[in-house]
């Protein structure tokens, strides 16, 4: 964290982030305006996720100044650890809840719905 932050570093990070944001919104806009036909849904999901991860990388490097520099080592290690835990929470929750859904029988779903209404 002791490198002196420079104007052009922030500017590059900003321009890259704007570009990645515009690509993501542009893909969504084209897709909706073509009546959901322009791209396959699977491609779009991968593209939006990839663009978000790329932008996370850009901002971590240019704004948070994360690097392999020895002085930023603890920041980097805790950052990677946090990403690991975040993935654990999100993917784990989705996995468990989908599994629960899948394992409910049609009768159970029926009984549940009737109770709700």
């Amino acid at each position: 964290m002791n490198h002196e932050p420079k104007f052009h570093g922030y500017l590059i990070g900003y321009l890259l982030s704007v570009a990645l944001t515009l690509i993501a919104f542009g893909l969504a806009y084209l897709h909706i305006n073509s009546g959901h036909l322009a791209f396959s849904h699977q491609f779009l999901v991968y593209a939006v996720v990839a663009l978000a991860v790329l932008q996370l990388y850009v901002q971590a490097v240019f704004f948070l100044h994360l690097s392999r520099h020895p002085e930023a080592r603890y920041n980097l290690v805790s950052f990677i650890f946090t990403i690991f835990i975040v993935l654990f929470i999100v993917i784990g929750s989705l996995w468990i809840m989908n599994n629960l859904n899948y394992n409910m029988t049609a009768d159970q779903v029926d009984a549940y719905l009737h109770k709700e209404n």
Binding site: P5, S17, Q59, F63, G92
Partner: protein, 193 residues
Amino acid sequence: MNRTETEHVRDTSLLGFWLFIMSDCLLFASLFATYAVLGHSYAGGPSASEIFSLPFVLLETLILLTSTLTCGLAVVALYKRNREQILGWLFVTGALGALFLALELHEFVTLIAEGHGFQASAFLSAFFTLVGTHGLHVSIGLLWMLFMMAQVYRTGLTNVTERHLMCLALFWHFLDIVWIFIFSFVYLLPIIV
């Protein structure tokens, strides 16, 4: 390595603040997980593509992104020890942050007025909790920025103000990173799919 005592204190407290931010990430992770699980539970209410508008979210995104740039420029000014520039960039950052918050509140008020409040469905509860928590963080950041400007204005650039400014900048950049995932996973993907 030749490092002075003040540099050591600054780096240690920055690391401590960094660890706080990392634990804040876990708060957001659990809210994102909730949204991911409940995002399709509309309960007969509106779906995501019916209530979200792409240009509006793009505008919010660009405003917050620009404010994170100007916050970085305040840090550049800090290293140049230019007090007027720091105050100026902090003011621009705060103004953009306030604009972002106003847009978000406008979105919330419109949704609630149309009967799509947080009680309407599990999807909307998860949405309001996640985006509202981010908005709360932005509000706290704005208050902090006001105090910071007062501190820089009154006491000038001391070791203490310098340390606080660096922490504030980290916090503000973190909020923009959370927003990347909000616009991608909360707004874009549900609208597309």
